[in-house]
């Protein structure tokens, strides 16, 4: 270090500069698969219609080849005593809450991945294992995932689940919006089985129109809020309810997309690699100047 002369320094500094910019990572261009399509699909869940039969829980497992109890076992309502969450063994669960308008008929709420329009999981995943598809579905790719669980930290709805009990090839599990079924024109399994049409499948734009319409025609029945219309920048799954959503244990979220702040910081720090490269140049210059000062003092 000390023996180096100034000419060498400049020469190598130039080389180093090029080397560093060679390392640069181009700001990720929105991969085609993560484009937000105008006609993305969604599901409108009307919690005032849902009867808590839990057939959707069964159908979902069945459609994804997951072990399941016989279908008639799902009419057991004792599970409602405790709040349940989707996990690695169930992509969707139904929870029950008291109904302020009619204590005889409780309110049932189906829970699954919301398929956000600006998904935190897609933004966060270290290897880009999550993608937002044209159909609106947010899916996970087992060939990329390294199992770091950052997606779970990021998701505002606390949805992705991890197979903690598996020593080899643990997977992230969550509702995939029946990606394989909808690709071939079938309905999502839960929508298809629902006996009372609490779930409506359609383009997100239409669903919002339908939801607004229902609220307009029944203003004393519904609260004037479509959950998912604006939450975290909008979600593919939308909910209607007859009471405040916080009573149904929906998280209170703002309208800004969940990844917004962290992405702008990331892109600020790495704007075409200018900040790191300038820092490099600055430090290089400082090093050269202090070195010269030291030499002239000698």
């Amino acid at each position: 270090m000390a023996k180096q002369n100034r000419r060498d320094f400049l020469k190598t500094a130039a080389v180093a500069g090029t080397a560093i910019s060679g390392l640069s990572i181009k700001p990720a261009k929105a991969a085609p698969k993560n484009i937000l399509s105008e006609d993305r699909m969604g599901v409108l869940v009307d919690t005032t219609v849902c009867i808590g039969c839990r057939n959707c829980e069964w159908a979902c497992k069945n459609a994804h080849n997951m072990p399941t109890q016989p279908q008639d076992k799902y009419s057991d309502r004792s599970v409602f005593k405790e709040m349940r969450r989707p996990d690695e063994n169930a992509f969707t669960v139904v929870n029950e809450y008291p109904n302020p308008q009619n204590s005889e008929i409780p309110t049932d709420v189906k829970v699954q991945c919301m398929h956000c329009d600006h998904p935190a999981c897609v933004s966060a995943c270290i290897v880009g294992a999550f993608s937002k598809h044209e159909s609106g579905a947010v899916t996970w790719d087992t060939t990329r995932c390294i199992g770091c669980r950052y997606c779970m930290v990021a998701c505002p709805f606390q949805v992705p689940a991890f197979q903690f009990d598996k020593a080899l090839n643990p997977q992230i599990k969550k509702c995939d919006f029946c990606y394989e079924r909808t690709k071939v024109g079938k309905l999502p399994a839960c929508v298809e089985i629902c006996p009372v049409e609490a779930l409506t499948y359609g383009s997100r734009i239409d669903l919002i129109r339908i939801a607004r319409d229902r609220i307009r025609r029944n203003p004393e029945k519904y609260v004037n809020h479509i959950f998912g219309e604006f939450e975290v920048g909008g979600t593919s799954w939308l909910y209607l309810a007859n009471q405040d959503f916080s009573k149904l244990q929906f998280p209170k979220l703002g309208e800004k997309p969940a990844p917004g702040v962290s992405e702008s910081i990331q892109h600020g720090i790495f704007a075409y690699f200018v900040p790191p490269v300038s820092l490099y140049a600055l430090l290089g210059g400082l090093m050269w100047i202090t070195k010269r000062k030291n030499e002239s003092e000698e």
Partner: protein
């Protein structure tokens, strides 16, 4: 400066009662580690779908990276600003950084569910992910640290090659190679030194960006858009205290005289940096009006107060005092407090502040998780001890020069 102290391998017995205890702790950790690989993460940890990250990320990775910051802060001081005065502490700090980051990498390796895919981020890029940025920077920085340490290895073996028996013929060619390597390194080292400082600045701050995406899942006392800045400032402020802390422990355990002359001067720089950190931390609290959360008495508010009071304010006051700077004991206490403060800050950010909307039980680390973390720390200390006893890292008075010359040289310099 090298004229009167020079890095020398320390000649002492490796095994002491303390070392034996560390070995036992390390073995215990390794046992649990085996269980983690055989039975899976769920079997040895208390992690769950509610709490996906625990102390392996909070301590082994986040606190590990922060406490290894001595490497880049001393490199910036000693090499970039050419403050030759501090050269004595650059090597030990570099060694700590190298070992620290090695264990950070191992910590990540054991925490991720699919450890055999740890190389995926190298070819599968997601530029919008803060974790991706941290991962790539840490990988490159670790390589840079190894390169920065190479001259120490060359120095150890040049002129001291003695392979025995059938390998004897290799001695000369290997030595030639080392000399060549050493020469090449000394010409290009500054590239790596600057790169190391840049990479550290980047990932120390991006580590702070990590939790921002968790949004309201993180307690408002810690969740702020300036987290990256706070992480960077706290990393810089813990750099020198960590060097002082280690240097005093090493001096104690090897029975050397503490290098107070360098350490107290290093200490004078701590208060200003810590002050800036405190200003931002308090400023952020007042701008976001999060002090209201301090009025309720719970785990989060208590931990926040401990972190700020014992980890920043008290040591800041101590580092302003001349008496503290000149006493090895008080300097040690003040430095330990800063180290403790930053350690706690990382643990708070990643574990204590994490407050998922749906939880069934609060996360408390399991015996297995604690054993593995403690085991890694023990291994790190053991490796440090082994290396300073076999490689020229810690500076000691050079016997070749008489005290009179020493004084003369020092005098002329100042």
């Amino acid at each position: 400066m090298e004229l009167f102290t020079r890095p020398t391998a320390i000649n002492k017995k490796y095994f002491t009662p303390g070392v034996i205890i560390l070995i036992l702790l390390a073995l215990n950790g390794l046992g649990w580690l085996a269980a983690r690989f055989i039975f899976g993460i769920g079997a040895v940890t208390n992690l769950s779908n509610q709490y996906p990250w625990g102390i392996w990320i909070g301590i082994d990775v986040a606190a590990g990276v922060a406490l290894a910051a001595g490497g880049f802060t001393t490199a910036a001081l000693g090499h970039v600003m050419h403050r030759e005065y501090y050269h004595d502490v650059v090597r030990p700090a570099l060694l700590t950084a190298m070992l620290g980051y090695t264990f950070v990498a191992i910590g990540v390796f054991i925490d991720i569910g699919r450890w055999y895919y740890i190389w995926h981020p190298l070819i599968m890029w997601n530029g919008s992910s803060a974790l991706f940025e941290v991962g790539i920077c840490v990988m490159i920085y670790l390589t840079v640290l190894y390169i920065e340490f190479l001259p120490t290895v060359c120095e150890r073996f040049i002129g001291h090659m003695n392979l025995k028996g059938g390998l004897k013929f290799l001695n000369r060619p290997v030595e030639k190679l080392l000399i060549l390597l050493n020469r090449g390194l000394s010409k290009t080292m500054f590239i790596f030194i600057i790169a190391g400082v840049v990479l550290s600045t980047l990932h120390q701050s991006s580590l702070g960006t990590l939790m921002i995406i968790a949004g309201p899942k993180m307690h408002p006392l810690w969740q702020t858009p300036i987290l990256p800045l706070l992480f960077l400032l706290s990393a810089i402020s813990v750099g020198f205290p960590m060097v002082i802390f280690e240097s005093l422990i090493a001096a104690r355990s090897f029975g050397l005289k503490p290098e107070m002359r360098v350490l107290s001067r290093l200490g004078t720089m701590v208060a200003p940096i810590l002050g800036v950190y405190l200003a931002f931390k308090l400023g952020d609290m007042f701008i976001r009006e999060t002090f209201v959360y301090l009025t309720s008495f719970n785990l989060q508010s208590v931990m926040f107060v401990i972190e700020l009071l014992f980890g920043v304010i008290i040591p800041l006051r101590m580092f302003l005092s001349k008496a503290v700077l000149n006493s090895p004991l008080w300097l040690f206490i003040a430095s330990s407090l800063v180290v403790f403060g930053v350690f706690l800050n990382r643990l708070n950010n990643f574990v204590i502040a994490y407050n998922p909307p749906y939880k069934f039980a609060t996360y408390i680390p399991s015996i297995g998780e604690i054993s593995i973390t403690v085991g890694f720390i023990s291994l790190l200390v053991l490796a440090y001890r082994f290396i300073v006893m076999n490689f020229p890292v810690i500076s000691q008075p050079d016997k070749k020069y008489s005290p009179a010359t020493k004084f003369a040289i020092r005098g002329s310099e100042e």
